[in-house]
Amino acid sequence: MKNPSPASINILAALGLALAATLAVLFFAGAPPLTTLAVLFGGGLDSTASLLKTFSSFIPLFLCATALLATYAAGLWNIGVEGQITLGAVFAAGFLRLPDPAGFPPALALVLALAAAFAGGALWALVAGVLRVYGRVHEIFSGLGLNFAATGVTLWLILGPWKRAGMASLSGTDPLPEVFRLPGFAGKPASMAGLVLAVAAFALVVWLLRRTAWGLTLAAVRQNRKAARLMGLRPRRRLLEAMALCGGLAGLAGGLLVTGLYHRLIPSISGNFGYTAILAVLMVSLVPGFVPVACFFFAVLLAGAVQLPMALELDSSLSGVIQGVLVLAFLAAGRMGIGGRLGGMLGGMLGGTPPEGAEGGR
């Protein structure tokens, strides 16, 4: 009989702790624990329709988690992903509202709309980046502020300049013409193109971080910004680049939500994908190989949560509680040395870098 490696025991221990904590929460919430878990995890997997639903959450989640890998690599706490998604959505919708796109072939117009989405997200992220690098405002604070600002921008657009013909409605802007919608699977709005883009972005980012000099430079900046400065690695520029890449990919997710899922700009279009992506990435301690798994896991939970009220007359917000408990259990397991492999890397990240201003405003 083979002895399981210590690392896998640790991961199993973390999973066990997470499961136990979740069951305890369900027990105290008065829900039948096992049935609830079955609905939560089965609800996103039990039919083609629900699988497609799962995938429609998986795509933006996976893109945002990929985006976060870039900023975490540079030691940045980018919690402004929500706002960056929103601005991407605004830019994409805005581009497609221009009088001109009709003149382009629809495919080209869609590509340009997604490019605009990337630019929008990148710009929004750069605001936080510039504040961090030149203004010594920590990105956690600016990110939070910019998230609210982005929500304000969408509401203003939906109720103001971009309101539906005749009457403004919180249900969103006028739907996009058919030609500007990304093709879905079997008529369902979960676009293949989005999935391909997300996978490609993931491969690209992992390659950049792991295999290129740029990725090594980001790691150096995370490890020691002072030394990076002395070695002429231009840490400020690297931070801005990481921020822009992250924002761009989050913006792309927003663009895909507009063109592939909702087909219009709606309020709160970011749908908490930005925050959930942070949870997903933290849960696997930034280990890239596990990121798709974590994202899929959360996508299943999101889809399953919708089933809770119907199946068990439980509020779907219970799913949010369970997500939080799971991540906390994983982090706690890691920090307490139970999940050694998962915890070690993150330990440095969480414990090692308190919020500090960008070094040297010289």
């Binding site: 000099a213 090594l216 490890q223 002072k226 002429g232 010289r362």
Partner: protein, 507 residues
Amino acid sequence: MDVFLSHITKRYGRILANDGVTVALKPGRIHGLLGENGAGKSTLMRVLAGHVMCDGGFIEVDGVRHAGLTPGAAMGLGIGILSQDPLDFPPLAAWENFTLGGPPRTRRQARDRLAELSESLGFSLRPDDPVERFTVAERQQLELARLMDADVRLLILDEPTTGISPEQKDILFGILRDFAASQGRIVVLVTHKLPEAEELCHEVLVMRRGRLVGSFEPPYDAGLLLETMFGAEAAKAATEPEITGAAAMAAVPVREASPASRAPVLAELADAAFSDEKSALPPVSLSLRAGEVVGVAGVAGGGQELFLRGLAGLARMRGGRYVFDGTAMPGRGMAAFFTAGVHFLPASRMEEGLFPGLSLADHARLGFPGEGGDIRDLFQRRFVDRFHVPNQPTAPAASLSGGNQQRLLLSLIPDNTRLLVAESPTRGLDVASCAQVWEHLHALAARGTAVVFSSEDLDEILARSGRILVFFNRSLVADTPAAGQTVRGLGRHMTGRAVPSVAESPA
């Protein structure tokens, strides 16, 4: 109050900061504690104030033996310390700072008590202003008022006159004299500055390399004090008559004295005023020539740290000119200095120079981005064969010893560096590592690199440089060829005792 420190020993890793120090502090006296940087003065005082626990020895206060004190216990015994950087909370108001650590008081009580103490001490402190708006002297006065309020009977002052004016110093010294004179209280003054110790102290204790090496009573022989502070070789040099000029050239082996004067000017500072968040230097004017080796001396906080950083492009320039190789540098970023061939070797190697979690090979990749995929080969040739970095390309930098950290940093200095600014390049290194560092720095200089380095070891500065800059009290007080200089002479400049006629050799 009677305090006896017996065989205090404190070890930080491999460094023995205090090595069996025994000191008796007697009532009614002001004791001066002198010594160069790293001599162990502050450690000893922090043991006494309970800020650190000693590994061996004990403290006896009024006949009661304590194996170690905590800050609270020390305060309870009436031992208070005025740190070099006041231990206050800058955003809080003066009265709030005053109240912290003491008995609970209302705002009115605290303000009244502070006003009363200020009155008797001759301070004028605005009680409602946040401490961050105070000058260094005012922060010190507030701290002093707090200690007086706590009724300390043993007052320790760590370099209290750094950053305050001569008038403020006189006020402070008056207070200290009165303090020690009443009710058998004790003052310990930790300082680098000889004149202050001479002016104030009833007894001067000298520490060197963690040991107590001498104790003196007035009248003080300044020469003897300096010798004791700066060590045996220094003592030897100091017993010789001061020699200058041609005799010195013959007596002291001089390095690169001649090529430097003929070499082209590499960098020129004209009224260059450097500053950082904490301090500012008055304008400095000097020029550096290719191939020159310049040693920079000064006690901690003397301003040489900021000067070196300014030279390397790491500090702001408030004014003046800095021309490097024909290019005006002010306003340019670190990257421009880097491109121009200026390299900075930091004293805190791991904190500022290396990436603890990255492998040695990754350091090579970062340092030589042009090498492309052939990094293993470069690592072997340059890092291992030439600089004797351990042949473990995948090991993280965090695993390196101090000497190997410096070897890694040396390997990362590009060969075409024009100006190398090295902050204490041999600090904490063993003899073999020191020799390797100097072999490389001199090899760089021989190829035309200007090397500017600082050191806490005056013997090293005298032995290794062709020209010496001395900083005292945040300004450049001497710029002189190394030839003919003695430890004693440098020590005088560093401690503000230089007689102007001896000070400047014609430059």
